[in-house]
Chain length 186, copies 2
């Protein structure tokens, strides 16, 4: 059982909170206007990409030693033709630079909110250099109904962000619905 | 009904040939040591990444006006940590530079050979700037049992290559089998 802090109160924040709760963890959610209370063992950044740096900066000390899960897709919604990140990097790698004493994990960004809701069997891909952090997430989501797959090192966040981006473009272009998307079969 | 030319005689070449044949097209396959005969309307490059440039160069004139489907995943097998292409590009975009009078399409690279074989319902993602070329491929694979999805412009080959790469790393790390992988639900 872990204490989970979720920044954000949107659709993604809610379904992720439900899954952690379902697995027996305690969850606290902070919206952008809420005062931030005690921060748990695992922190989920379920906010728009542009809001992350401010959160990392404002809670720098409290976030030290914590597992931080970055679920953002830094899509350039102006062009819908790429990401707001250098081509040879990922935003999660950039966030890791901003919070060097935390364990950054990319995850949930390849899942639409609907597929994380309810009791659907959904695969969540995690990328991180911290194997213990990934194992902690697997353990704390045991019983949530989610299938957690270790997608590799933090550098693999690049591919996870590519998948997240492509999936969003496919939904916007109505090739898939917002209730579907990429799934991983084993 | 189209005439299809496939460069390559490996597993991917064979299952792609089967699907085109199943849909009523004629298919001719050329191995690396075969003399190249008449080239069809649609050309599939089912060879390793490193062999593509030579094929494009050797058949420059014959390939003009043709649809060229690049299925390669330019994985750096030395490091298994990235692709052998500039981060802000894709090999298909580079091949398009080498064959400016042909219509380059990325496709089939997100599918393992097993999932393309038999009568499995498999989704194939295509990226190209040539909408007519993608429509021709959809038409010519109608009846093949494959579900062809337009993934967008040629630039989306970057994301398709990211998916192909991640999928290979997941199989090598035994997180998934070579008979599974990413699928797209609608």
């Amino acid at each position: 059982m872990k204490n989970i802090t979720i920044f954000g109160k949107g659709n993604m924040a809610k379904v992720i909170a439900e899954r952690f709760t379902q697995a027996g963890n305690t969850v606290e959610m902070f919206g952008s206007k809420d005062p931030v209370g005690k921060i748990g063992d695992i922190v989920v950044l379920a906010v728009p990409y542009a809001a992350v740096a401010t959160i990392l900066e404002a809670n720098k000390v409290e976030l030290e030693g914590k597992i931080i899960v970055d679920i953002t897709n830094p899509v350039n919604f102006g062009t819908m033709d790429g990401l707001l990140v250098k081509a040879d990097s990922s935003v999660t790698e950039e966030f890791a630079q901003l919070a060097p004493k935390s364990s950054l994990v990319k995850g949930f960004n390849t899942n639409f909110a609907y597929t994380l809701g309810g009791d659907k069997n959904t695969t969540v891909l995690l990328a991180s250099d911290d194997v213990n952090a990934k194992n902690t997430l697997v353990d704390s989501l045991n019983g949530s109904g989610l299938d957690i797959v270790d997608a590799g090192s933090l550098k693999r966040a690049r591919e996870l962000e590519a998948i997240g981006f492509l999936q969003i473009t496919l939904a916007i272009r109505e090739k898939i619905s917002w209730m579907a998307g990429f799934t991983l079969t084993k």
